[in-house]
């Protein structure tokens, strides 16, 4: 089974190389046993990049020893795997910051800066209160 998936990955990687088209394989949709998945993981190996994400439970993504082939594994808070895929792409979408998150971050940083300025303008001696205000920010 692992070899069959590897063949599919090879086709997708060629397509990425020649046409720039990204694609993914949902490993959970395939009738693979745990042994099959471990075998595939072993065949693909580990490359230069490994990323841990904290998104309502742990997630991890690593580039395999074939650049452009990524293994992405999502877990729930109970540690069980909720989804798992092979992404054949220069960079998995889950690692790219969404424009909406950038917009929200810009606004939050602006507010934080205004708060820092307000705190720094307060008379000396109120430091403890200042810390509480900062901790209350989301």
């Amino acid at each position: 089974m692992a070899e069959s998936v590897l063949t599919e990955i090879s086709h997708l990687l060629n397509n990425l190389s020649e046409n720039g088209e990204s694609a993914s394989i949902d490993l959970r949709s395939l009738p693979m046993t745990r042994t099959d998945r471990l075998h595939l993981e072993e065949l693909l190996g580990r490359g230069e990049v490994h990323v841990d994400l904290d998104l309502a439970g742990a997630s991890e993504a690593w580039e395999t020893r074939y650049p452009g082939v990524w293994w992405i594994r999502h877990r729930g808070k109970n540690g069980k795997i909720t989804s798992e895929e092979i992404a054949v792409t220069p960079i998995p979408e889950i690692l790219v910051t969404h424009p909406e998150d950038v917009r929200a971050a810009a606004m939050r940083l602006k507010n934080d800066l205004a708060l820092f300025e307000e705190i720094s303008n307060q008379p000396a001696g109120n430091e403890h209160n200042d810390v509480e205000i900062l901790d209350a920010q989301p």
């Binding site: 394989i25 309502a56 999502h74 729930g76 109970n78 069980k80």
Partner: protein, 362 residues
Amino acid sequence: MPSHKAPDRTLGDMLNERGVSRRTFLKYASYTASILALPPSAATAIADGMAAARRQSVIWLSFQECTGCTESITRASSPSIEDLIFDFISLDYHHTLMSASGNVAEEARHQAMKENAGKYIVIVDGSVPVKDGGVYSTIAGMTNLQMLQETVKDAFAVIAVGSCAAFGGIPFANPNPTGAVPISELVTDKPLINISGCPPIPEAMTGTIAYLLSFGSLPELDHLGRPRAFFGETIHDRCYRRPFYDKGMFARSFDDEGARQGWCLFEVGCKGPVTYNACATLKWNAGTSFPIQSGHGCLGCSEPGFWDLGGFYKPLSTASGDATKYVTGAAVAGAALGTATAIMANQRRKKIVKPAPPAKED
């Protein structure tokens, strides 16, 4: 009374304020795409669709039922990515879960209907008794039939969860003293999705709601109005004991050597070959196990008339003759038996229950 009107802000904005990033949306979407058997590339569309959606008003009606379906969906898993669906919906009425009662509860239902006319989803669990004017089950002085008709009038879609709502279930079983009928016999002018099971798999319920939210349309349904993503294959198709069936290796009682060795449970009554559901893949209790893995045959609870299919411990084939002569241990016999069983079960099912009409989409 708080407003039940869908807020103007999107789910993306609302959850962003709570520190839920678009990456988290995407993770949820990947999980949803996977359980809905959609390609991974659909995850982006799901994430974008959900982020742009408004919080969905849901009215949950419980009729002739045991609350097992509610137990199932509220115990989807430990608080985790799977439970994000509860942030996406506004459960405006559910008489078991809501703190309000009596007139205040009914007022909440009316308010949600009025403020979200044409947009709210009605989830129904339980069948509806229609015999003797529907007197066998009433809520707030209304028969279940009256409450159903009143509530679905301005709904966007109706989801019948559990085998009682989808096919009549246990109240519908012989002799059906209350004249129970499935929702499909009463709701014919709205998009209707059946999510059968006793109870249904929680992911089948949450995944279907997530699909509706993301795409604003119904997922692909089978001839019984069930999402193909969860009901497209039989338990038998994806059962890890299938190789034993193919080799003709069967447990013949629950304490024999075959049972101890984990062989196929067909001969002790497993209905897996004729039962369409995702128990063998999604499993139960956060993916821990499912009945066959725990040593018991499938009861066929997601199929119409499962209570009247002739006995949970009788092999599918025995009702129509002595099929045990075919179960001789040969792989060929196993495959042939499966085909014969499926045909017989389909014939029997047609006799027991009139299939629900296909779901309609506005």
